[in-house]
């Protein structure tokens, strides 16, 4: 079960990221995860929010260009070797990772969440099913 990530185009100039966060704050949109990929001139901010369509509309109305991408969220134990074990499963299932970012579960929580963008999301979901992975849905994230 994939979850929706919003990618937002931002010029790589002071104040541009703030413009986006101001709009999100104004509309009470909570970012659960965030990562930014940059080049010299522009960046792509990747966000996980509770309601992706709503956030995309809000951003559009406020002059931002964005798109929605399907990503996989996997929870793993927050301990040495946690990611290594997970990546073995990916390698065996021949799933290619395009990018990933992670966030830890919080103080006292020994679980971390990995967000993956893979080459073919649907095929990857099929191949990873039944391999004992804790793949999160958007409902799971909303409750976290």
């Amino acid at each position: 079960m994939s979850i929706k990530q919003i990618s937002v185009f931002l010029e790589n100039r002071p104040g541009k990221l703030k413009e986006m966060t101001a709009v999100l704050a104004e509309h009470h949109i909570d970012m659960r995860a965030l990562s930014i990929a940059e080049t010299k001139d522009f960046g792509i901010a990747r966000l996980i929010v509770d309601d992706a369509f709503n956030a995309a509309n809000v951003l559009k109305e406020n002059g931002f260009v964005s798109s929605i991408t399907k990503v996989l969220a996997v929870a793993i134990p927050d301990e040495p070797g946690g990611l290594d074990k997970l990546l073995s499963v990916f390698a065996d299932a021949n799933v290619n990772i395009e990018y990933m970012y992670a966030f830890f579960g919080g103080i006292g929580v020994k679980e971390a969440c990995m967000i993956f963008r893979v080459a073919e999301t649907k095929a990857a979901e099929t191949r990873l099913a039944g391999k004992g992975l804790k793949i999160l849905t958007s409902e799971d994230l909303a409750q976290a």
């Binding site: 990618s7 185009f9 541009k16 001139d41 522009f42 931002f64 798109s67």
Partner: protein, 433 residues
């Protein structure tokens, strides 16, 4: 089925056109010699008198007029009739130097509006149409010209003038406007706005657009036609020659017919002044043979195009001019190479971007730099950094191929480039010359 506003004139034989032009030219030169000392002096300096002008073949004997002459003669130096015979002035935006003030008698207004009526009719307009004129009204010739033309055709004329986009769209939809007249950059903006509001081409009642007052590319035409669901026609003119309507596009959309009963067109080599043959690019020169108050003789427009007398499928026999490539003063010289904004626009549109761009020219370490800022669009955006930079690189290559020089391409946020209601400001030249 082709419609003409004045069929007998628009489809006259070449012999009849020539005879009419010769007759009018002879009278006009006499009129100018007698009433415009400024031009008479130029003729005398060249050793030409009205007796030397017997037909259109003698046109090339006459001296040119240029924008510099208009500035020198400002305001009344080129007026050919008493001020009491004049009923109007119109004045240009003066993008290069001093304002041009053009004078009109009622006869001049009528012939100008007739020319615009021909353009509207060529675009399919009849008295059943609703024509929204979104060119600026006032000193600028766009509004008054198309307004007059629309009245002559008998369309229901909506004089919205430029700006207030919400209101423009309201009128188009509520009153079912079928013809839209405005600058091409404003048409593109209206199209973008209507698309964002959720209007699909089939929802929009417009069937034709008549766009001019600035250079625009074939690619931009295709874009506007697709988004608004219309056929977009080009129209051309200068304040010095009346305003829009000096020439106009017909259903063939292969160049614009010059209203040869009122204007004689030539194309010259801008350096030598030599008249060039059909099909050769050069500077467009016009002689107004019917205007009374402010008649231009061999006026150099600074626009670059070519002429053709080849038969047109629409049936009109008047000479056609190609879409001007740009003005000699639109042209930039960057690292010794001639660059027109319209060339850059063509590349952008070919690569899937919209024509929301600005060109920043600067000079760094004694070298000219060119930065093309183009807005990111929803269509061009993807979650993949590599893909965006790859497309950006393709754009750089495309520009290099078109212009011959390497430009920087900067992707900027949507709506960060100011939209124009009139002529778009495409170039910011920071070089201190």
């Amino acid at each position: 089925m082709e419609r003409y506003y004045q069929e007998s004139i628009e489809c006259a034989s070449r012999e009849d056109i020539r005879a009419l032009q010769s007759e009018r030219l002879v009278k006009q030169i006499r009129h100018v010699w007698d009433n415009v000392p400024y031009y008479r002096k130029k003729m005398e300096e060249k050793g030409v008198t009205p007796d030397d002008i017997q037909s259109v073949d003698d046109l090339k004997k006459l001296p040119f007029l240029s924008k510099a002459d208009l500035r020198n003669a400002y305001p009344y130096g080129l007026l050919a009739v008493p001020l009491s015979d004049c009923v109007r002035i119109q004045s240009t935006s003066g993008t290069t130097g001093k304002r041009v003030v053009a004078f009109y008698t009622q006869h001049d207004i009528d012939l100008w509006e007739e020319c615009c009526a021909r353009a509207i009719t060529a675009a399919g307009g009849t008295n059943e149409d609703v024509c929204q004129v979104s060119y600026g009204y006032g000193l600028f010739t766009g509004g008054p010209g198309l307004n007059g033309g629309s009245h002559k055709v008998g369309c229901l004329t909506i004089p919205t003038s430029s700006g207030n986009t919400e209101r423009q769209i309201m009128f188009i939809m509520d009153l079912s406007a079928t013809i839209l007249c405005c600058t091409p950059s404003y048409a593109a903006y209206l199209a973008e706005s209507m698309k964002e509001m959720g209007y699909r081409p089939e929802d929009i009642p417009l069937k034709a657009g008549i766009f001019g007052a600035e250079a625009w590319s074939e690619e931009m035409r295709q874009d506007i036609q697709k988004t608004l669901g219309i056929k977009a026609y080009d129209i051309y003119g200068l304040t010095e020659l009346s305003g829009p309507g000096v020439s106009f596009e017909c259903s063939a959309q292969q160049g614009m017919h010059v209203n040869e009963d009122h204007f004689i067109a030539e194309v010259i080599d801008p350096d030598t002044g030599e008249v060039l043959p059909d099909g050769t690019l050069g500077e467009l020169v016009f002689t107004a043979i019917d205007k009374e108050a402010f008649p231009m003789i061999r006026y150099r427009t600074r626009d670059i195009c070519s002429l053709t007398h080849e038969k047109c499928s629409c049936g009109r026999t008047h000479v056609r001019m190609t879409k001007p490539k740009g003005r000699t003063d639109d042209m930039l010289i960057i690292r010794g190479v001639n660059v027109f904004p319209s060339q850059i626009e063509t590349v952008l549109l070919n690569h899937g971007y919209a024509a929301n761009y600005q060109i920043i020219v600067d000079r760094v370490n004694n070298t000219d730099t060119l930065d093309v800022q183009v807005e990111m669009t929803p269509e061009m955006f993807t979650d993949n950094v590599g893909e965006i930079t790859e497309r950006q690189k393709k754009l750089v290559d495309g520009l290099k191929s078109m212009l011959g020089i390497k430009a920087k391409v900067s992707l900027v946020a949507p709506k960060s480039i100011t939209r124009s209601e009139g002529k778009a400001v495409r170039v910011i030249d920071r070089r201190k010359i």
